[in-house]
Symmetry: C2
Amino acid sequence: MKRNSRLSSTLHILVHMAEAPDRALTSEELAGFIHTNPVVVRRTIAGLREAGIVTSSRGHGGGWQLGRAPDKISLAEISGALGETLLPFSTEPESPGCLVEQAVIAVLDDFRLEAERLLTERLSNITLADLTADFRRRYDLIGVSSHAV
Amino acid sequence: MKRNSRLSSTLHILVHMAEAPDRALTSEELAGFIHTNPVVVRRTIAGLREAGIVTSSRGHGGGWQLGRAPDKISLAEISGALGETLLPFSTEPESPGCLVEQAVIAVLDDFRLEAERLLTERLSNITLADLTADFRRRYDLIGVSSHAV
DNA sequence: GTTTCATGTAACTTAGCTAGTTACGAATCG
DNA sequence: CGATTCGTAACTAGCTAAGTTACATGAAAC
């Protein structure tokens, strides 16, 4: 798993889970999909469990399943549960008392607030169901073209 | 200079340059403002020079100055010239051929495109002049309160 | 109840990124 | 010429996050 690909890797995993609603997938299986380690998977999606997006069970036949229907899981929720910030720039003061810095930070924080609002709104309108639909479209296309040939 | 604070540090520097329009500031001076090294400053704002946002001159009396009026320099330009991405998540394929991944990346790239458009639009409406105005407001406030006491 | 399988989590290692540093050449001014 | 300042390459250091190992906990199968 590359750096900064936690969101896409998690979505990848969740689509696979949505496509196998009848059984639990182990972290081992999930790790295989994104070419990484089971422990990394468990660590990465631990936040999703707390958010109720997925459930996990131990022991024989245990593993991971979606916590609710894919059309009730938005990318905004997923992104939030991963605990990542959408905007990477920092606005931590480094020169306390400097008025120039204070002005810069004030403007940047305003922008950040507005930007996060906008991005979250957009992400709220995309659900896991949209992703699985997109996947199935691609899958059917391949099927059709294979059939044609 | 902390990680991820290149944008705010650069803005800090640029406000100082806007406040001293009559002379060139050396990288040594600029580095002092953000508590870092002259070489780091030169490296960081090299892109701004190529974008015409600042100019640099060598030798005696040399240093850095704004390339044009502060109200003609938008944060969008500055951010772009720094070569940083506004959105931190990666959409690099890691499993070529995987249809699930392709669906995820397609949706995420669409979102990124729209998000970058929105953010850039917002940043285009903020200029360096807005920052200096904010700074002066704070400066005058301090002045008034000092006078009152 | 014992065995097996799977998660939960802590602790450590490794890799990559970026700031920081050193060094030196090129340009400019007095 | 000598002082100053940028431009840039090359190296070092430190932080962050992924990867790994290890082991305890819990659940199902037998």
